[in-house]
Subunit: 427 residues, 4 copies
Amino acid sequence: MASTDSNLKIVHGEAGYVLEDVPHFSDYIPNLPTYPNPLRSNPAYSVVKQYFVHVDDTVPQKVVVHKDSPRGVHFRRAGPRQKVYFKSEDVRACIVTCGGLCPGLNTVIREIVCGLSYMYGVNNVIGIDGGYRGFYSKNTITLTPKVVNDIHKRGGTFLGTSRGGHDTKKIVDSIQDRGINQVYIIGGDGTQRGASVIYEEIRRRGLKVAVVGIPKTIDNDIPVIDKSFGFDTAVEEAQRAINAAHVEAESAENGIGVVKLMGRYSGFIAMYATLASRDVDCCLIPESPFFLEGNGGLFEFIEKRLKENGHMVIVIAEGAGQDLLAEENAQAMNEKDASGNKLLQDVGLWISQRIKDYFSRKNKMAITLKYIDPTYMIRAVPSNASDNVYCTLLAQSAVHGAMAGFTGYTSGLVNGRQTYIPFQVSY
Amino acid sequence: MASTDSNLKIVHGEAGYVLEDVPHFSDYIPNLPTYPNPLRSNPAYSVVKQYFVHVDDTVPQKVVVHKDSPRGVHFRRAGPRQKVYFKSEDVRACIVTCGGLCPGLNTVIREIVCGLSYMYGVNNVIGIDGGYRGFYSKNTITLTPKVVNDIHKRGGTFLGTSRGGHDTKKIVDSIQDRGINQVYIIGGDGTQRGASVIYEEIRRRGLKVAVVGIPKTIDNDIPVIDKSFGFDTAVEEAQRAINAAHVEAESAENGIGVVKLMGRYSGFIAMYATLASRDVDCCLIPESPFFLEGNGGLFEFIEKRLKENGHMVIVIAEGAGQDLLAEENAQAMNEKDASGNKLLQDVGLWISQRIKDYFSRKNKMAITLKYIDPTYMIRAVPSNASDNVYCTLLAQSAVHGAMAGFTGYTSGLVNGRQTYIPFQVSY
Amino acid sequence: MASTDSNLKIVHGEAGYVLEDVPHFSDYIPNLPTYPNPLRSNPAYSVVKQYFVHVDDTVPQKVVVHKDSPRGVHFRRAGPRQKVYFKSEDVRACIVTCGGLCPGLNTVIREIVCGLSYMYGVNNVIGIDGGYRGFYSKNTITLTPKVVNDIHKRGGTFLGTSRGGHDTKKIVDSIQDRGINQVYIIGGDGTQRGASVIYEEIRRRGLKVAVVGIPKTIDNDIPVIDKSFGFDTAVEEAQRAINAAHVEAESAENGIGVVKLMGRYSGFIAMYATLASRDVDCCLIPESPFFLEGNGGLFEFIEKRLKENGHMVIVIAEGAGQDLLAEENAQAMNEKDASGNKLLQDVGLWISQRIKDYFSRKNKMAITLKYIDPTYMIRAVPSNASDNVYCTLLAQSAVHGAMAGFTGYTSGLVNGRQTYIPFQVSY
Amino acid sequence: MASTDSNLKIVHGEAGYVLEDVPHFSDYIPNLPTYPNPLRSNPAYSVVKQYFVHVDDTVPQKVVVHKDSPRGVHFRRAGPRQKVYFKSEDVRACIVTCGGLCPGLNTVIREIVCGLSYMYGVNNVIGIDGGYRGFYSKNTITLTPKVVNDIHKRGGTFLGTSRGGHDTKKIVDSIQDRGINQVYIIGGDGTQRGASVIYEEIRRRGLKVAVVGIPKTIDNDIPVIDKSFGFDTAVEEAQRAINAAHVEAESAENGIGVVKLMGRYSGFIAMYATLASRDVDCCLIPESPFFLEGNGGLFEFIEKRLKENGHMVIVIAEGAGQDLLAEENAQAMNEKDASGNKLLQDVGLWISQRIKDYFSRKNKMAITLKYIDPTYMIRAVPSNASDNVYCTLLAQSAVHGAMAGFTGYTSGLVNGRQTYIPFQVSY
């Protein structure tokens, strides 16, 4: 299987396609034995699940095509394989969650544990407590289907989380010392870069350890995959804040509701929340620069909209307008007047203040502005049904891949299909 | 009826009781005719509603009693009377909403309009646009059952609102000029004091105009009545913020979630939200002073709680700790360092900063603090079922009272019963 | 204290009042020692809770009064007493839940456990598994604050429940054998009658065991208390079904939405849900008889309403129209045609069928009728914030009473105040 | 454009691909003029939306591919074109909704109206009242952005709906007589087949009328498209019923909760709701036959599960087990015993009864079974955020296609991209 697979990396003629292939144990640890997939004999799945993914199944990255366009990059399709590279009783898996909260973390944790147990009979799973540094600074948490049974109904992460704390050597030492051979790492781009380094170190040491990433970014700012888990829930939950802003604005004369939503480098949550609501008059995102004063500026637009409609709602992604903010900060620094700098860093507070200043300065009109920052109320909710399904498939795909001997990949949805994406592509 | 009623103001012997009586037209406009209540002949109510409140029905203010305690203050029970002082076709009512948003405003508006129409056949109701100043600076809004049919499903106020704008003379002129004879005023304590002044001016001018207040304070800080409308909804909605704070705190090491809730002079929302949640470790309210450092101080408690439990949630009413905050501000003033004053005015941001400072200053422990201010998201939701029922009864009681010739009262729930409370008592 | 209390049962002259008094240990077990309330020295309550209820505090059953009305029945006010009749370390409490589900059951359980532990230092609490029969047929469940910490966020009952299974002798034997001295019984009227019999048997045996009832009826059909726990939540949740019925009706020509709500002998849920929604055209309740055909009948009203408005919503309490249904059943029996009897027992299905028959029979108009029975979806939700607060106070009141040596009472809200109501009154 | 397009229908060699092409006006009405897309000059879109779909953009139906698999069927990508075939002022569009309710109907209606108006300056849009028969039996409803502004926040369909009523000749007459040239038809498979017939008749008459289908099936049972609108919301809402069933089951001894969900011929809602919940023990769907008694049968599984876990939840799609039900009905017929037949038609009631019978018959164990049918409560909710976004893009895609001169297609999501699918393929 592996030898065939690795051939796929070569471009196949004019109408052929390129496969971005995921690393496989047998690529660097030759002569590994294989075992029949225990799913085959699982009576619970006896009727419906006698189904394995074909080794050559791939999913194209690009689906908008012309009749003569080259086929381009494809990813390996995720799913159970006929042969696996781990005996169930040999597996010792661990799960770690890093970075900020995101709806669905607990569902992913639950489904890795339950997937390993119910599908592959693996019952040796531990949780790393409080992010990367938990590998070496804390005790681990025993994870069983019973322990994680209800955690998907709660927000947050059952395992705790933290930022940073990445010490590759200590982490891989801990993996080796504890006899762990499957590492599931759930986190954002920094975390996944860390996972990649861990994977390289493991490969260097020649360990038979699968390193699997599950990309977590509530901002949905990963180019390859369709959407990140928790995104749907975040957009749903953002509606409450937008509704509130709309009600506040509508009930006042020249009422303006400003809602700041997540999105450091991308405006996906802001845009989707705006599309879903239809009550938003203006959506500011990092991808689309804007300016405040003058012809075509934000203030002009607000003034026009208030005159037309009497009230308005503005949604702003946290990363929008950072250039304007940085410029003002630089000026403030030069003027040796440090006051208020802290405030300026929050773009929502900043823009609210600028709007208020503008309308009071010019004595233009009396406005009533209400600013809402629902960030923590969005991050901390349990995942909705759609994200629960997504997290479940993501986790199960991750498990299937590790069991089949793949490593150094993230699990991700590409054009509606679960795939394995090599670390070097995914971030 | 009136003469009997006014006798009730006199104390009736040792075991007797005092009636805090509401003003009645016939008290200052003698020889008014009365009419049979049109409810009597309303076929829709023919079976179930052939019921009128007895003229002597009262409700005691105090219900925890001893066997020999004096009976104390009683309020007139609200409800339909056999005789009314307005002919349906003569009524021209207006409704105004003032001050901040509160869940249930639209239900109260709807039920005054529908109550007047369906119960008394009154079809001449107008809305004042945008608070008190709408009486003289704007056109009115025609209100019919059809227009208001669905407004109770939305937050905010259909009529718009504003603060201030009270010019008694202009308002009463407008009432007189527009031929209005029932004025329903929905608003907080400032608004109700305004209503009292309007009532006095109307009485002075000898106008047959009923002035009715419906007390609105999401804070629930009115001593006489059981609870203000919107309070239940606010406590319910506050759970989201507390849950989010709890999840954020629980997922971090030494995580602290801080939630600021409404309550300028009273901690009712904070206390009830705390009681309802059971996830709150510490609830700070205006009624109960506290201090930050030292033995028995807040910081000590936080430290202890983090050591015991690893995380905690603090709920703070916006009016709590204002003494500490004022003191710090005063010091800052003296030190001629005005920066940050703005920040200090928000007790939630202030206390969050103080807690962070404390733990970083003493290098005590690394904490993760998340601050949530859900105020506008709470104010702007539609009222829940319980508040809808309450607002409905409140509005209908208000209407029954005005039709029966009472004036200068607010409609309010006292010990589970709808009553009429004279302006001088209610605020 | 007891001797004074029992005197209170006597009517005090013309202006005096009758006390419906709760039984007290010292009434039938004389010479019991008392202990200072441990709350007194609880540091967590050191500032705010140095408050005890006065022994003579009572709450009148009747609050709508006239100036010369006799004072009538009063109930003892609930709350902590200065002196208690149990030493904390001697208490062994048990909790049992019986009958159908109701939102708030878990909150009551949680708060009895936490109240006993945090307020009185009682740490010996057990749960009876699966209703009355669990006393003698099953093992008990150990209840600690940690075990019950999160149960209030779930619907249902943590202890399990069942109907019937009442064997007084076996139950009291079990109480005696297990050394239980506080019994908290949560259940409906049948359950409370059972509690009363258990209390009598315990009294007969001269055991120092407090028997406390917490009335549970989602129907809110207990005359003495203001409302039963879970009622608010039920009314809130019923809104979903009514909204759905309204949407279905509105989207069809001559659309009729029928919603059946709980209420065997009373229409409280149906009425309050109707009041809260404002989308209901017709509410049928047991208290108000109706007939189907002819002048003033239901069909006539439906026809009229459809002609006016194009669609309508009917809410029917499960106990409404049982006379009509019984009559039809009787006829069906006589006609020896038993088919369909089963169907007829559900008043919602029955009335839906009758309405359809009527409109098709007479070829009157083509209607579209949708029937919704949300009963189990309402019963099983977790309690809302308002019910959480209520359940908390109810449970804490129950605990205070038992600790103070009262027995044979239910804990209940009367005119907005927590009271103790003797078994003989409460049902 | 058209001539090139139609060439695409031809297979392009070995590595080529087949395009399932949508009909275009210029295919059957030659020499039509084209106009520049007004979006080009729309200032609101001046920065962000200067983007048109390339005429040759396609999306493959199959995305799981092997390196040498033929390219297969592709669909035309939806989106704005540089050239349009309608002058804005000439457009007269109509919208009709048919069949059962589905979350998102109002969003689709709103966005067709707003899309035509804001993107193309089309202000002549009418709604057909109450399904197909509204074309010839009722007045139309004027649709403007203002009229539809808030309808997406409500469930149901603003236009009303009905089943059947399809009279092709009368409908096309009405289209012709009223001067309608864009027809948007929202409905299920029967409705879409009707749309196809209407399209053929319009083509036969040589009318320049675009006929556009928007597939509506809450069951998600259309093979070509990724998912139907409203599906996400339905799965979300189904969680409430499953949660309730779980709570009821868990609180009783041998408790069984049975939930019936939509799905006549497919089990998508049942399966996704099951995946999302993780509380379901058994999910019965039409695609997977089962039997009741004997080894490997349902009853055996239930018995085993109750013994293991004490309670269980069963989700059943309405179309599951219809073979068993039909068989029993046939037997019942033969036995001349017609009673109960009605009951049998509802698979949820039927299976609940069979389970009860089984356990009581064999005196196996006392079970408590609760049956929940949330169908109408699911259908009637407003669409969630995710469906709102989807409906918006679906409606805008439909509008872009009609404006560009396409006809006889449905708008649909294929592998994550909006496409146009010819009528003959879509159903």
